[in-house]
């Protein structure tokens, strides 16, 4: 008697399997790229050891030029051959032209409206056009080449002073950090943040610290980015931190824009953007201008 039960149970089980695999269900099973063994819920997050590019390179060597991964509830593909990169960035370029909706894009990037964080669409295309014409065109770059020449000359003079009598030790990181900050700030706002003026030195210090904090909160660093379910509760204070930081940055950027309202003669990125605002104020809002100053892809 118990045997009969067992047989009928087994038969039922076979029937379920047959229905599942043999009958057409209307939906084709997905043929996903090769994938390492995953752990329930976290997926492959446990594999992500730093430095991440080396770790992922090892996975590609093992599983091939396209690997499917799960970071929490996010699907990820990792591509590591020129032909597959080409397939992604030519034939499928528009399809892949969105950005992941991470929390920092929302809270540090004017609610996904900057050119770095916005999804593909009219708004993003327009920002890219502004970048190409108003910021990075050859004529714009040529007209600001004097700034760069001047800043590099400043750097060279400083190096000459310290090395006049023989070899001198220099810290490359701080040297290049100062150089690029000075060049970019002069191109954006026409401001020089060094010299004797104590107020300016203080302002530059605050500015650099705020930028560093921005950099530290960038990237895939937050659990709620891979488990969006946590986005509704700010369990670790990340959102609060972002909101405070973006307010401080916004004040600095607004200050730069307001300075230009009082002086419209500078050949700066802000002035070019304010000229656009004069003709189309409803589109070139303050947030759009500040977003462009803040970040470019």
């Amino acid at each position: 008697m118990p045997n009969t039960h067992l047989y009928s149970l087994f038969g039922f089980f076979l029937l379920v399997l047959a229905v599942k695999f043999l009958l057409p269900t209307g939906k084709k099973r997905k043929n996903l790229p090769p994938s390492p063994p995953a752990i329930p819920i976290i997926g492959h997050l446990h594999l992500l050891k730093q430095p991440i590019h080396r770790t992922l390179e090892n996975l590609s060597r093992k599983y091939g030029p396209i690997v499917f991964l799960r970071f929490g509830s996010r699907s990820v593909i990792l591509v590591s051959s020129p032909s597959l990169a080409e397939e992604c960035f030519t034939k499928n370029d528009i399809n892949f032209a969105n950005r992941p909706p991470f929390l920092n894009g929302k809270h540090l990037h004017y609610n996904f409206t900057t050119v770095a964080s916005a999804n593909y669409g009219d708004h993003w295309r327009n920002l890219r056009r502004i970048c190409a014409i108003e910021i990075f065109s050859s004529s714009r770059l040529n007209s600001s080449s004097g700034i760069r020449r001047d800043e590099i000359k400043h750097l060279a003079r400083r190096l000459q002073q310290v090395s006049n009598t023989g070899f001198a030790k220099v810290d490359l990181r701080s040297m290049f950090t100062d150089l690029t900050f000075n060049i970019v700030m002069r191109m954006i706002a026409g401001k020089r943040y060094y010299g004797e003026d104590v107020n300016l030195i203080e302002e530059a210090k605050k500015f650099k610290e705020t930028m560093q904090e921005y950099a530290d909160l960038g990237g895939l660093t937050n659990l709620a980015d891979v488990f969006p379910i946590f986005q509704s509760v700010d369990y670790n204070g990340f959102v609060k931190k972002c909101v405070g930081l973006s307010k401080r940055m916004d004040l600095i950027l607004q200050g730069l824009v307001d300075e230009h309202r009082r002086d419209r003669d500078r050949n700066t990125m802000i002035n070019h953007l304010l000229t656009l605002q004069d003709s189309q104020p409803e589109y070139y809002t303050e947030d759009i201008i500040k977003g462009l100053i803040l970040v470019i892809d």
């Binding site: 997905k30 043929n31 790229p33 430095p51 590019h53 992922l56 390179e57 590609s60 396209i66 499917f68 996010r74 699907s75 990820v76 593909i77 990792l78 591509v79 590591s80 020129p82 990169a85 080409e86 397939e87 992604c88 499928n92 892949f96 032209a97 969105n98 992941p100 770095a116 593909y120 890219r128 970048c131 190409a132 910021i135 990075f136 080449s145 760069r148 590099i152 000359k153 060279a156 190096l159 090395s163 006049n164 030790k169 220099v170 490359l172 990181r173 701080s174 290049f176 950090t177 150089l179 690029t180 900050f181 970019v184 954006i188 921005y214 530290d216 100053i293 970040v295 470019i296 892809d297």
Partner: protein, 201 residues
């Protein structure tokens, strides 16, 4: 501009100088090119860059070995598609490992060595060298970054001699701190070239 244009650039410049410090022969060759093409009547300018193919190769080679955004900025798909014959669902995040492609031994000869010569007569082969990303969302500031790197490195090589601190090779171990950078800030010894003193004062 602030976030994408400052640290990426300064970190790339730091890598480039470290590569030069570890390869004095490359530094010498770049200086010879600068001396021949520009001489000593002015410091290298953006208009000179096209006359300096070796300097450009040095920059390409440094960006190949040390792309500061090694996985490029993440992209995300808006619709289902197929890549390499596999299904990729909508909403999938794409990482392209530029760092891995830049060091792939099937694409590059002796890939871990710093050899700017490999870029002489190099035809920009698609998708083997992509430090600025690819496609519509590639870095819009690439042209500016190339200019700044070229005139900065050009001026530093043209006007100064560079040496390692205590003659020790620079450790090129990298770490990720939102960007790929050296573990410790690098230091170097520098001295103004005697015949450049007048030009700088």
């Amino acid at each position: 501009m602030l976030l994408a244009g400052t640290r990426t650039l300064s970190t790339s410049l730091e890598w480039a100088v470290c590569n030069l410090l570890n390869h004095p022969d490359v530094e010498r060759k770049a200086r010879e090119e600068l001396d021949t093409q520009i001489g000593q009547d002015h410091t290298v300018d953006e208009a000179d860059i096209s006359k300096l193919p070796y300097l450009q190769s040095v920059i390409l080679e440094s960006l190949r070995l040390h792309p500061v955004v090694p996985l490029l900025a993440p992209h995300m798909s808006s619709a289902d598609c197929t890549i390499g014959g596999y299904d990729v669902p909508a909403g999938t995040i794409l990482f392209a490992n530029a760092w891995g492609i830049h060091r792939d031994p099937t694409l590059w000869n002796d890939p871990t060595s710093f050899k700017p010569e490999r870029f002489e007569n190099w035809k920009s082969e698609a998708y083997t060298h992509m430090p600025f990303g690819m496609g519509r969302r590639a870095c819009p500031g690439e042209g500016l970054a190339q200019r700044i790197m070229a005139i900065t490195l050009g001026s530093l090589i043209q006007c100064f001699e560079w040496e390692k601190v205590d003659g020790k090779d620079i450790d090129m171990t990298d770490k990720m701190h939102t960007l790929m950078c050296r573990v410790e800030p690098a230091e170097a010894m520098c001295r103004v070239r005697p015949d450049m003193v007048d030009l700088l004062s």
